[in-house]
């Protein structure tokens, strides 16, 4: 059986993943030319590399069409239910760090915690004739955090396909759930992160799809051991 490892196809995260595989003694070799979306590992037969976008990697892991993937934990947790039963987070790679956070307008002086937000959400409909609107592309993480962890049921999600941090200023939503690394974009848009509003501290991870065929496959253990050793 050929093992497929899905790696990011572009950007800083692609280079960082290649560096780690290099340090792990798993040097990546392109198949064909340098722009190719296929590769292999020098010296390790039966393993192929597929270069995909970070969000595709999460989806392919969920579908089980790849064996390993390097992608952000946020994307993996957003893309599948019962995530820990379906994939294993084998190693946290120390790059691509970003937090998924709940951010509200800075001027909401009375809202510092999720409990405050719960109060505001509960009264929102009576005051405004609509539910509190949250702009996000993280539907699942938002629901789990608001409903599951904080007992807040009454809000509406407004799907955001980009520039989420601009949604409150544009009047599209009241607050946002988004990813932030330095917080500067939030600040520039006059938003603040709630004190207990960090939903997930995400970073790039080596993720394995849990498959029965991996049992006793030495290559699987070898890849995990070497990547962990390179950190």
């Amino acid at each position: 059986m050929t093992l497929t490892i899905a790696l990011p196809s572009k950007g800083r995260i692609k280079e960082a993943a290649a560096e780690i595989f290099d340090r792990a003694g798993l040097p990546l070799v392109s198949v064909g030319n340098d722009r190719s979306y296929r590769g292999r590992i020098d010296g390790l037969d039966g393993v192929e590399i597929a270069y995909l976008s970070a969000s595709e990697i999460a989806r392919e892991l969920a579908a089980g069409t790849v064996d390993f993937g390097v992608t952000g934990e946020d994307l993996v947790r957003e893309d599948m239910s019962e995530v820990d039963a379906r994939v294993e987070f084998c190693a946290r790679l120390g790059f691509g760090g970003a937090d998924v956070v709940v951010a509200v307008p800075e001027i909401w002086l009375d809202v510092e915690t999720m409990a405050d937000l719960g109060d505001v959400a509960a009264d929102f409909r009576a005051r405004h004739g609509r539910r509190l609107a949250i702009a996000t592309k993280y539907w699942r993480l938002t629901q789990q955090f608001f409903s599951g962890s904080h007992g807040i049921q009454l809000y509406r999600i407004v799907e955001s396909l980009g520039a989420t941090e601009g949604a409150p200023a544009a009047g599209q939503a009241d607050i946002i759930v988004d990813i932030t690394s330095t917080g500067s974009t939030l600040k520039a848009n006059h938003l603040k992160v709630l004190a207990d509003g960090v939903i997930l501290k995400s970073e790039a991870c080596l993720v394995r799809a849990r498959k029965a065929a991996h049992q006793g496959d030495e290559r699987v253990e070898e890849i995990v051991r070497r990547v962990r050793g390179a950190l």
Partner: protein
């Protein structure tokens, strides 16, 4: 297809509904999604089947009947009181069982005698189940948010805390966290110095001016979301909430109340004893509870088979009083669930307040309970 998998007892059930003087209604399978998401929250989104029209409007396959029946009542404006019955398919994404299954139930709208209507709806649910499952021993668990609200009010907490606790009713973990927090004040800090000074001086106009100026400076719309007045008012309320706490005796009383779980026969006495021991003024709630128990007895509901669990509630803002579930004795699968939802009709757009109470029967579970071997003995 639909005719084939309709449960065998559907005809019997419809007869029973008619005998209980209800008006049978049907509603379209394809429903606008917004009312369901607005009422039940975003959690529902992953459990229903959503689609979008060409113009971008969200529709879903009917996930339940209460909202469609209520919307239909509002549209047809036929007046109250009304007793509606339904039987039809609902569609939900479920981990176990099929995605499409039958539900039936009664919605009783507009009876101002709440205790009588509560008792009647529980008797309806039990009567329907007894007709389909003759000879089976059924048990009812009831809860009542109104009693919890009375207990919370009697503790003497600020209104904001009362609302918080009532909102968490039915969610034990959230309540536990709030109870832990209430053991001591949690002073609020970290406000900008200028705001802190205005707040301490009680200068509401100054605070509003400050918030307006900041909004103008940052280009924030003052009419799109929360207005300056709203922010300032809650800031003042929050200071009160932060300073609030409960002494140990009151916290223990709250915890004890939430652990009450007794047969309805003894519930009035237990509640009265609790109020006396805790020193809480609950006379109104006790009187209401007594009236309910009397109404249950009048409606012929078997008090011995009904248990009152003080912590039983549903965390949705339209449930206001009674909630109940019926199971077979010794089984955990809920065969019928219902409650009072007095706030729903106006939330859905009814011009007047309409008291409402109802229940739904889980026909697939009832069918499983009927089959001789199968699921009944499985854990």
């Amino acid at each position: 297809m639909a005719l084939i998998d309709l449960p065998d007892f559907a005809g019997t059930l419809l007869d029973e509904f008619a005998a209980r003087r209800t008006h049978r209604v049907d509603t379209p399978v394809i429903q606008p999604a917004a009312p369901f998401l607005d009422m039940a929250g975003e959690d529902l989104r992953r459990r229903i089947f959503l689609t979008e029209s060409e113009t971008g409007e969200s529709f879903c396959l009917r996930p339940e009947f209460t909202i469609p029946v209520c919307l239909r009542h509002i549209e047809t404006a036929t007046g109250t009181p009304k007793r509606y019955a339904y039987l039809g398919q609902v569609f939900r994404q479920r981990r176990e069982g099929g995605h499409e299954f039958y539900q039936a139930g009664i919605e009783d709208l507009g009876d101002p005698d709440l205790a009588a209507a509560d008792a009647r709806i529980v008797a309806d649910a039990l009567g329907c189940l007894a007709r389909i499952l003759p000879g089976r021993s059924l048990t009812v668990t009831i809860g009542d948010q109104a009693v919890f609200e009375a207990v919370v009010a009697a503790l003497g907490l600020p209104a904001g805390w009362q609302k918080r606790l009532v909102r968490a009713f039915g969610q034990q973990e959230v309540l536990d966290a709030m109870i832990a927090r209430l053991a001591r004040p949690a002073p609020m800090a970290g406000l900008p110095a200028e705001v802190e000074a205005l707040l301490q001086a009680g200068d509401e106009a100054g605070l509003i001016a400050h918030v307006e100026a900041e909004m103008a400076r940052t280009g924030t719309l003052t009419n799109a979301s929360r207005a300056p007045q709203e922010i300032v008012r809650r800031l003042k309320e929050k200071r009160q909430l932060a300073d609030a706490s409960l002494d140990k005796a009151k916290l223990d009383a709250l915890k004890e109340f939430l652990s009450l779980n007794v047969s309805l026969r003894y519930a009035p006495g237990v509640l009265a004893d609790f109020a006396r021991a805790a020193g809480l003024p609950l006379d109104g709630a006790i009187a209401g509870f007594d009236a309910r128990v009397a109404a249950f007895a009048n409606a012929g509901a078997p008090l011995a088979d009904i248990t009152w669990r003080a912590a039983f509630g549903r965390p949705l803002d339209y449930y206001t009083g009674l909630v109940f579930e019926v199971t077979e004795r010794g089984q955990h699968k809920v065969l019928a669930g219902g409650g009072r939802f007095d706030r729903m009709m106006t939330l859905l757009g009814a011009p007047d307040h309409i008291p409402a109470v109802g229940f739904a029967l889980w026909l697939d579970r009832i069918a499983a309970a009927l089959s001789p071997a199968g699921e009944r003995t499985a854990p």
